[in-house]
Symmetry: C2
Subunit: 294 residues, 2 copies
């Protein structure tokens, strides 16, 4: 476990160094906008999506440098979606990762524009990769756009808003999570696999891993919201209950939710068994995500 | 002039038919989001950017179908930027093209997300073109992302917000317009030229045309804001004065501004003389834009 923590820390530093390079300089005009983009990008995130991308690439034999622009593009999309979700008109969150949210520091107008700019920069950054024999730029861009678009990431946020304070069943809850978290998770892994010029069979294995892992991740997230303190989470704990959002612990009980998370983790792991020893770190990562405490 | 009106109407119908195809169906889930995207996309816009794109492609001998996905992507970026600019935290506009703005109809949260979704869809749509011998997908996507990004389109909106109620000089005003309107104008023409696999010299001529035309367009826009009624403009007239925004008529007087618009139009036209008879419609379009009344 300590080994894994060290490894993840090293990965985070690698991703941060690449992001530093791809983001506009802090002092470059328009200064306020660029500062706001950097404020939210370098707010101590776990860099989970970029790490999944790099690990999928590595599992299939690619160099990190091949996948790094895609890894950074994924984190830009994730960060833009957090900035916009935190806005007063949306989830109205004042804190994120223990710090005031972007609009609390820079105002709503700049926060909206900083999110827009990060989304735009994500596509510019994704276009920086070379193309591979099996996967060209148009497919890479389409993959990223579909996962971030109106039927996936954004649809998840819409359902989340529309279902607040409503009773929903397990199927609806799963479908919200699949779009809100799962799609970008799966795409992170798929883009990493594409950067390794994966065969269709290997890409399919990685895709199944991503879908199951995304669900497990979200179930654990819901459990932590109930069982952990705000301090440990770096965001307001208990906020799902306050917002009367449907969660897995509410539907299945804490024990039931824990069992479900373990089940989806093992399904994820089974999906990449066929990749052999290269997939060792993907298996470890899935275990680590299941047992995390924040 | 009547011929030109007829021609533009035909072009608008062509662009609308293509947009209809690229946008998610109105009844598809999430319904509210997709309705909001369509509400703003089909609000009677002039389709200027797509038309410029198609005309540049046509001037250099390409078929319309080669440039249509790019033309639609440009209009999606333009529409997303209008939806976000109209938000209460930004320009706080209740009307646009004679109809309530997106957030007045669907609420702020959905308006923010509809803008996000259109920006994302723009990149998905741009990736649908084929690649040409001189211009590949990565260059097309980068061109669109840079023009829409934190140093151009979004930077223009930031300066606009920051310079409200401030006295600025002609140079600052021009630099705001170059980023807020000019960059996407120029890119519309450049992407059309790329869809015609333009030589570097022809691409350069089209680029110069776009820069000068963008300035002329913005000067005329400022003049119309002072001289026309809200009814004719389909948006609140006199709103620059109310917001104490610097404008060309305020800096140069109405006559001075009219002269400047004419000068930049003729500069634009001079830039594409070298393209010969193929450029005839670009010249006519520049004249038409100079003499428009709304």
């Amino acid at each position: 476990m300590i080994e894994m923590e060290k490894f993840l820390e090293q990965r985070r530093r690698q991703v941060d160094a690449a992001l530093e390079k791809f983001l506009p300089k802090a002092k470059s005009s328009p200064v306020t906008l660029h500062e706001a983009m950097r404020y939210s990008m370098f707010a101590g995130g776990k860099r989970l999506r970029p790490i999944l991308c790099l690990e999928a690439a590595s599992a299939l034999g690619a160099n990190d440098s091949e996948a790094l622009p895609l890894a950074c593009a994924l984190e830009m999309v994730h960060t833009y979606s957090l900035i916009h979700d935190d806005l007063p008109a949306m989830d109205n969150d004042d804190f994120r990762r223990g710090r005031p949210t972007c609009h609390k520091v820079y105002g709503e107008a700049i926060a909206i524009l900083a999110g827009d700019a990060l989304l735009t920069l994500a596509f510019e950054t994704a276009a920086r990769v070379r193309s591979w024999p099996r996967y060209k730029h148009d497919q890479i861009i389409t993959e990223l756009a579909v996962a971030s678009g109106s039927r996936q990431l954004i649809a998840g946020q819409v359902s989340d808003l529309e279902n607040e304070a409503k009773e929903i069943d397990a199927r609806t809850l799963r479908s919200i999570h699949e779009r809100k978290t799962g799609a970008l998770f799966t795409t992170s892994l798929r883009l990493g696999a594409m950067a390794a010029n994966a065969t269709p069979a290997k890409l399919e294995a990685i895709t199944k891993f991503g879908r199951a892992l995304g669900l497990a991740f979200q179930i654990v997230d819901d459990i932590l919201d109930v069982t952990q303190t705000s301090e440990k989470l770096g965001k307001s704990a208990g906020k799902d209950i306050k917002a009367q959002k449907a969660t897995y612990p509410a539907l299945l009980g804490i024990d039931g939710a824990k069992k479900a998370a373990a089940l989806w983790t093992s399904r994820a792991q089974a999906a990449v068994k066929s990749l052999g020893s290269g997939a060792k770190r993907l298996l470890d990562l899935a275990d680590h995500m299941l047992h995390r405490e924040h």
